[in-house]
Symmetry: D2
Subunit: 372 residues, 4 copies
């Protein structure tokens, strides 16, 4: 049952022309668990305030540190903050709010450097506050169902995990045109060490481990920048060795012509295999060895009932999956549930940054194996 | 740019265990254009008030007529009302709010009888108020794009229109178990003359005319009730003759085993054909005669840019399409746009009821042609 | 085990520029059960002989009646003949060979008129010879598997049968260009009463009855010729009432822009539904009520083992399905099997012609119900 | 125009229970370009002769060397031989026939060792005879069309090539049951150094280079044997560096639960990308950057006309693709064409064996880069 009391939410970043800021706002609104009460939507004061006005956000700040302090000091101040800035700002902002005693929702990758990520892990532990990293693909009902199948042993002993995330929006030198999303994602000062690796590779890496329940122990990466003068990778080929002899490949690319947002995960065990594709997220292909493959969905047997806003056949998509994270996080904050359950933690966020830095090091060494 | 001022919305119907009520609420909330300010969520007072409490709706009524009067009398009363009750109540409720000077959003089919529908058409005209019927499939970006292709002549002269809407949730005698959704939809006193015809056939009929721009002139129907003792059709086969010699078939079924919500429209002209399938709504197959078919999407050339909350490849679904109607209607109420544009009108709603009654009469006569 | 002895086969029709003649020849050759020993490949003597020379056929005739007599008179004459001419010639040729005591393989539709078809039925019975009509889609392994599922009760009581066969190759006035295939198919003197109805509607009609095991009792047709001056239908919409209250639609079209050869059959029972699509013939979608749909194939459990030349995943197609008819017919002629089993009989062929004539009469009457 | 004169063909291997022998025979028969005149179908004399009798092959040998000599000595002896034995026998057999002046068709991988492969390359050059390796996937019309698109520059500068070939038939210890196909393929003495790598990895490797026109310069492999006691790899993960900075991954697996024969190739350039999947071989997805993807087929514009036995929409499959190699090879032998054109040569065969040995060495070294 949806509780009427809405959690007071703040947001840092996400002003005009932001993509992910609006996604977080819709996700927070979807199930009516939050009210957006305060924001520091831009580092540029006029833009911050104009954005807040447009969005009807009551309290607008132009300094996130002051926002953290003032909101924390006030009885009806925000209870949680969503951080939707470029990567390099995640750490200072998250620290500011955690230190002020405010729960944090942070976009991925967690931080621009591993040192920052490890600092955040400690800060979360010290604060006693909740911290969610929006690896949003884990919010899809059929991705969650895939995880259950793996955990329940329906796949048997897992042998191979194949994950890929091809896009094509950076197939040309888009950053040269001043395109905001492209510019910061290809700038090491804002994005960190990974290009496609940080932006989408971390999603793929997280989903692979999170669904399969397997843990990568070492990797070998071959990174490339196909667009001239690009400073960060736009294509990443990675070999992965998981525990228990499980093997896999990961491919992340932002120059894969013809793909919009093609995250695809396949997990193969000795009893069954499964496949999930983000662009048709309501279907989960599940094939037991020697049997006809089944197309699992929310509509059919095996659907993940807990995630249903709509009956099967009425497609839910990216925003609903994102909203599932927000809804579950609200339940956590309200104390309806006591542990993170399916929610991605700061530790998972830090692991993603470690993945990026390890892959970059492997590739820089000419493509050598590195422990993770 | 989203305006901060939210339209004050009321709702009649949609209490506990309602499916479509929650859909309307999420759709209204999605783009932050409405606030749900009052409700008469059930005819049972306790249930109405409990539902309102749970949802955090400020003002709760147990009588829709009183709600219409009181809200209209108040300066800050609701500006529009969403009607999400069983069909037979649409007419009295809509009249009450129109007569009180409040805009109306009404679920489909418009009414339980054609006489009621025609009365509503007149009432809307007399009231000067806005009236939208939630033929929600017309809110999908790629359905809208299909309509544009047809209107722009990309199909050439249209020849054949095939539409179908198979489901299987009424393949058994679900209503005997007391299932609320099944019970009223199979009860002529609440649903009107059409079973599958009214519940989903009206969607199919609307979409076929709305996308193709062709207008049905006569029809011949063969209706059946496959489940024993069911009083209304659960399967409808209809032949359609449109103007200008265009021909088509319509199939609506709620006993089509293996289908969840399989609305599919295909339109064939002498230059090109197109196909759109609701369960994979982000794709539109478009084939020019003699050329390779294209898979149009929001991501690729030809995408319907105006409908984008998310970049292509980040799937939008049923709720986002529904929200498109709400958002466009908000623009209409605010005066941002002056005509209904893509929004389904009361006339389209009445036409759907006429389609139902004509098909029922055709079938009752043994399957004879009837003018529409 | 394949027998080394090859059946001596003759062919009438199928000379240069024929489409279906070459299909029959490859089908006969595929499993090495036949040798093509004689032919009357064209009514034009030079063309007949040139074609035979090119194909390396030992004995060439320019008169089918003489061929029947001479081959029958000779000890090592042909044992069976394949008739691959335009429709209006099927009857005289088949009679000639049956009367001479030679088995017949005849393309569909069986004849140009129902009277001819009925005469052939009697002639077959009188002759004691074998007669196969090449409703070749019944040769696909997964269509055969669908028939088994229906026969075995896996679908439960069948309720609805939907079949369609859209193509677009006659979307323009192709016959005006002298295109051979188009010309005779649109000429009533050669094709008979049906255009799309005879050419592809008979396939759809046969497959629907053959897979479902249901039998059409009455129908109502709405036929059209969308291309100017075309004398025969190029689009056929038909309502079907089968026995036991089963209902269905059939759509055949040769002006459905964007379709190559889109034969699709769907059968819905109260326990399960299935779907088979000729353009992806190795898959059979099978959905039990309330369960996840399965994708049956030769590779997976439930595959039709008897039809395997190749392991699943190694696609077989149109020619292999056609060859399955030829192979099974060879077994029948050799006496390896004693009844027609899955093979389409002259009675099924005659039924197809009756379907065409009944639909034409129904449509000519303005779209009225007619018993079949 | 098909020539009536059939090439006299011999076969070594392919007796009872062979899979690939029958495939070659059907492929040879499909277009009537060959007659199977002699065979040494098994190393076991009784089996060889029984198989020949069953198949109606005129001359049966139980010693391939004698067969080569006798056939070569005879005026009407075979002109070409098809070698369809386990890998380790390819070399001696091919040498015997080449040395006797008989053309050779040899299954892949070319040989069990690179030394043998190199010897064959020289023997072919010295003999002046024709030699085709049946990398049969290159016979598919849409794979050929993909190659044309790459060669014609439709993809622009190629950047990434992804190829995979998952199967699951060796997911269990099938060889322990005495299964013939499994036994020799998992036995280093018969298969050579590669398991999945040799059996299917060579197909994937060939197709990737052959379609893209790019040439691998170095690779790094991580091979595994997931089934206990299996001596050869059953899963191969390989990173590939092609010339001109092109990068790619290759995955071959015979333990990928749920896959029958899932060869899939994707090539990405800076202007367009393409995808071809062997299990639906009639479609080729082609996406120009920023445009809607097209589904190319034989039916639509861009179809590969030269390969058509059937109009588009009438599916051709594995056997037809295989037959395309045989047909083109017949044209080569007859002198209708003067060079190999699309046909895979002995050099391509040798390159496949080099790929296997290099990958095995890379993996044995713990996963290190090796030049190819």
């Amino acid at each position: 049952m949806i509780e009427p009391r809405r959690i007071r939410l703040g947001m840092v970043g996400g002003g005009q022309n932001s993509f992910i800021g609006e996604v977080h706002r819709i996700a927070a609104r979807m199930d009516d668990c939050y009210e957006l009460a305060a924001g520091c939507l831009s580092a540029t004061p006029e833009k911050a305030h104009a954005s807040a006005r447009e969005l009807g956000i009551p309290r607008s700040y132009d300094d996130f540190a002051r926002m953290a302090q003032e909101e924390a000091a006030w009885n009806d101040g925000i209870e949680a903050v969503a951080i939707v800035t470029p990567n390099h700002l995640h750490h200072p902002i998250a620290r500011a709010f955690l230190d002020a005693g405010i729960h944090v929702i942070c976009d991925k990758p967690l931080t621009a450097t591993l040192a920052q990520a490890e600092d955040l892990e400690q800060a979360v532990a010290a604060s006693g506050k909740r911290f969610m990293v929006t690896y949003n693909y884990s919010g899809y009902p059929m991705a969650r169902h895939a995880r259950e199948l793996a955990a329940d042993g329906a796949l048997g002993n897992i042998r191979v995990v194949q994950v890929e995330y091809p896009q094509d929006w950076l197939a040309t030198d888009l950053e040269a045109s001043g395109h905001k999303q492209a510019s910061w994602r290809t700038d090491p000062a804002q994005a960190g060490a990974g290009g496609s690796l940080g932006d989408i590779g971390t999603h793929a890496f997280h989903l692979a481990e999170w669904v399969s329940g397997c843990r990568v122990e070492s990797l070998l990466a071959d990174l490339d920048s196909f667009v001239a003068d690009r400073q960060l990778d736009d294509n990443a080929h990675v070999l992965l060795r998981y525990g228990n002899g499980v093997r896999g490949q990961l491919w992340a690319s932002q120059i894969a012509t013809g793909h919009a947002n093609g995250l695809r995960l396949r997990v193969y065990g000795d009893r069954a295999g499964l496949e999930w594709f983000q662009e048709q997220p309501e279907q989960l292909r599940f094939a037991r060895l020697g049997e006809a493959p089944q197309i699992l969905s929310r509509a059919a047997a095996g659907g993940a009932e807990r995630d249903i806003r709509l009956p099967g056949g009425h497609p839910e998509g990216f925003l609903e999956a994102f909203a599932n994270l927000y809804r579950d996080y609200a339940a956590l904050l309200r104390g309806d549930s006591d542990d993170y359950g399916l929610l991605p933690t700061v530790a998972e966020g830090a692991r993603g940054v470690r993945f990026v830095e390890t892959a970059v090091a492997s590739s820089a060494a000419g493509g050598q194996w590195r422990e993770l």
